[in-house]
């Protein structure tokens, strides 16, 4: 079922992100794919995202960056803040993973492994191959077409 849903969403770009439930399911798929965990600890500051993620089964919100598996970056300011924190408190397992909601955030930092955003009415999901490799992330075949070499 999960596979069908991912295929459905990603192959045809028909991200059912117009309603919160679909958005949530989609993020759950991405985060579990990149962390290979059954449930993912997510740090996000944007209240709108927090509101959405609150209802997830497989996403647990955390208030501390260092406890999280994935940090969702919704602005450049957030990116800078996270990068500062990472520098101050580097972790052995390179966690948390950074995932952006904007193309420019993805482009601005090599620490960000991927992004999901809307452009010209179409859903855009991107992963940078070198960054996934740096973090030792291997994505399943459904995601291969969204992995790019350069931005």
């Amino acid at each position: 079922m999960k596979k069908i849903l991912v295929l459905f969403i990603l192959t045809y770009g028909q991200l059912v992100a117009l309603d919160k439930e679909s958005t949530l399911k989609f993020y759950q798929h991405i985060f579990t794919a990149i962390t290979s965990a059954h449930s993912v600890l997510v740090y996000v500051e944007d209240p709108e995202y927090r509101e959405v993620f609150m209802h997830a089964d497989k996403i647990l919100l955390t208030k501390r960056m260092k406890d999280s598996d994935v940090i969702v970056l919704t602005s450049k300011a957030m990116l800078e803040k996270v990068l500062d924190q990472k520098e101050l408190h580097p972790q052995k397992d390179k966690k948390p993973l950074l995932f952006a909601t904007d193309y420019h955030i993805l482009k601005d930092s090599k620490e960000v492994i991927g992004a999901f955003y809307w452009k010209k009415g179409r859903a855009q999901l991107l992963f940078v191959r070198s960054r996934l490799k740096a973090y030792g992330i291997v994505l399943s075949s459904e995601y291969q077409k969204f992995i790019i070499d350069e931005l």
Binding site: Y12, G13, Q14, K120, A123, Q124
Partner: protein, 625 residues
């Protein structure tokens, strides 16, 4: 309008309305699609011009020129932006890089995408356009935000796709076009709803109609058909396809009287059940009266004789029980195979009725089958046939001579009416077939007028002859008929004294004074009055006392008795003769059918004789010549 045509018309009307509603919907949808297609075509033309402009400005080296000239990039972005209206959501130019990723070259948005930034079109059709170099229209799904259609136009240089110009139509514009004909569609939908409701209503009415029809054509007590079913059945089927049987329970009132009406009803219910069980499912049973049933059996089920006898035997041996008391019913039946030219069930019923009466008069509890020969002339008893014959004056009078018995000289002729067969003018139809059918109707008066015309024209043509004419006493009591007779007598008063009215009487006279008054009026013109069929039925001795008549015509059955019971018959006839002599009446013997009878009549001194031995009814000219 006949029912079957009306039904077909209603069905045709419904189909026509459904067809019209479907046509309207299809044509409206087609016109909406046409409108959309026109818009796409228009956009395609715009895009084509834009691409031409870009190629002109960049000398067919779009990316290379834009790389070198950011100002041109800005100007072209602005040009694209100018193109955006409410109907177009996005317009941009994409280039496919070496790794197959799409990147922005130009963007008409206010906040234009960064040059060479990445774009994932999420549609394989972009690749197809790139490969084929042919424009494509992509119908966007709901999941793509705010877009209706995407026009993907290839920018081709030297048969190679350099880039794609993408024009996205706003979803709102698509909706606007879709709703362009919505008032009309609303009307069509309303019409369809109305039509649907009408059909539902029609079906409901049809259901009600069939329920009401069933109640009308089904007999409530027995579940057989009621008589109303007959006309309906023969609207769609031929009478001639069936054998017809009339069956009646004899003296059923005795059952009701003895056991009560409730039991009587039970007997009728069981009787009809047994009858239905004995018949095939294709047969029909119609309750035409309280205990009278008309049975219609398809002719392909066997011979009428076999079928009728089987049914009669089944019905006859059926027992009915009242408190362990066994009851058998007496049943009278008449049956016939309808002739191939039969058109009316009423005529068939009439013939069967007559046969049933005959069966009953012979002692009841029997079956009478009408032979095919007697049915050949069944049409002659059809009122429409008679009506048409009278309208076309297919009628004539034959004349039977009345002889002076001793001298054997013709003294008078009796006029006898005949109808002429429609197909065979040589065939004449006797009154037996039609007289009872038209009696009491306007056709009877019409026929009487024609007969009077015949008789008077014969009297005029042959001044030396006398004629007699049969008139029913009922006719003389009918104002219209009497008026017609008076007019004729007045018109021909010079020859009216050569006419004798032979009065036929079918029931007892109640008002002798009135009849005597009528006779007086007839005699005033010199006409004579003969009492027909004296000695039988109601033509009794009482008439001799109370009525002023001139001639007695002795009933033919009495004359016939001269052969069977000559001694007694002679005595009776002798007494009539003596009585007539005393009253001064002339006497005529009818039915003188052979020489023996003639001699006896002569010996009895009966003045006048009439019968086949002396002369058959023939056209008058055959006797005069």
């Amino acid at each position: 309008m006949r029912e079957q045509y009306f039904n077909k018309f209603i069905i045709f009307l419904i189909i026509l309305l459904i067809g019209f509603a479907v046509f309207l919907q299809i044509s409206t949808e087609h016109s909406t699609e046409k409108l959309k297609n026109e818009e796409v075509l228009k956009a395609e033309q715009y895009v084509h011009h834009i691409v031409k402009l870009m190629q002109l400005r960049t000398h067919n080296k779009l990316e290379e020129t834009l790389n070198k000239n950011p100002q041109l990039q800005t100007r072209l972005n602005e040009a694209l932006q100018a193109f955006l209206t409410k109907q177009y959501q996005y317009i941009f130019v994409l280039k496919k890089d070496d790794k197959g990723q799409y990147r922005f070259l130009l963007d008409g948005a206010k906040d234009a995408e960064e040059y060479h930034s990445l774009f994932m079109p999420q549609s394989t059709l972009f690749d197809e356009v790139y490969e084929s170099g042919k424009m494509q229209i992509i119908q966007q799904e709901d999941e793509v935000k705010n877009l209706w259609l995407s026009l993907v136009y290839p920018i081709v240089v030297n048969h190679k796709t350099e880039a794609l110009l993408v024009l996205d139509f706003a979803k709102t514009y698509g909706e606007k076009l879709s709703h362009f004909n919505s008032p009309l569609m609303f009307v069509i939908r309303m019409m369809q709803v109305f039509l649907l409701l009408s059909i539902v209503l029609l079906l409901f009415l049809a259901y009600r109609y069939f329920k009401a029809r069933e109640a009308l054509i089904k007999d409530k007590l027995t579940s057989t058909y009621s008589k109303y079913y007959l006309s309906e059945l023969f609207n769609r089927d031929e009478v001639s396809n069936y054998y017809v049987i009339l069956i009646d329970i004899d003296e059923f009132k005795n059952i009701n009287k003895k056991y009560g009406e409730v039991f009587g009803d039970k007997v009728i219910i069981l009787f009809s059940k047994v009858m239905l069980k004995a018949l095939s499912s294709a047969s029909k049973v119609v309750r035409t009266g309280g205990t009278e049933f008309l049975v219609l059996i398809p002719k392909n089920e066997g011979k009428i004789e076999t079928l009728a006898h089987t049914l009669f035997a089944t019905m006859q041996k059926q027992k009915y029980y009242y408190n362990n008391e066994e009851i058998y019913l007496s049943i009278s039946m008449s049956a016939m195979s309808t002739p191939s030219n039969a058109t009316s069930i009423q005529n068939i019923q009439r013939v069967l009725d007559e046969k049933l009466l005959e069966v009953k008069s012979k002692g009841k509890n029997a079956l009478g089958i009408i032979d095919a020969k007697s049915l050949e002339d069944i049409d002659y008893s059809n009122i429409d046939y008679i009506k048409e014959a009278l309208e076309k004056e297919r009628l004539l009078c034959l004349y039977q001579p009345i002889y002076h018995t001793k001298s054997k000289e013709i003294v008078k002729y009796e006029a006898l009416v005949r109808l002429i067969d429609e197909k065979n003018p040589d065939k004449l139809i006797a009154p037996f077939y039609f007289m009872d059918v038209i009696k009491g109707t306007s056709q009877y008066i019409k026929m009487s007028k024609l007969v009077f015309n015949h008789v008077f024209s014969t009297l005029q043509k042959y001044p030396e002859i006398k004629l007699s004419l049969n008139v029913d006493l009922d006719d003389l009591e009918n104002e219209e008929m009497m008026e017609m007779i008076r007019i004729n007598l007045e018109k021909h008063k010079k020859i009216a004294n050569r006419l004798t009215f032979e009065i036929l009487e079918e029931h007892e006279i109640k008002d002798y004074n009135k009849v005597q008054e009528i006779f007086k009026q007839l005699k005033a013109y010199g006409s004579e009055i003969a009492l027909d069929d004296f000695g039988s039925g109601y033509a009794s001795y009482g008439y001799l006392i109370r009525l002023d008549i001139d001639i007695l015509k002795i009933d033919g059955t009495l004359i016939k008795e001269l052969e069977e019971n000559p001694l007694r018959a002679k005595e009776v006839l002798q007494s009539i003769k003596e009585l007539a002599d005393k009253f001064g009446y002339e006497v005529v013997a009818e039915f003188v059918s052979d020489e023996n009878i003639y001699e006896m009549v002569k010996h009895l001194g009966i003045t006048y004789s009439q019968g086949y031995y002396l002369g058959e009814p023939r056209p008058i000219n055959e006797y005069i010549s």
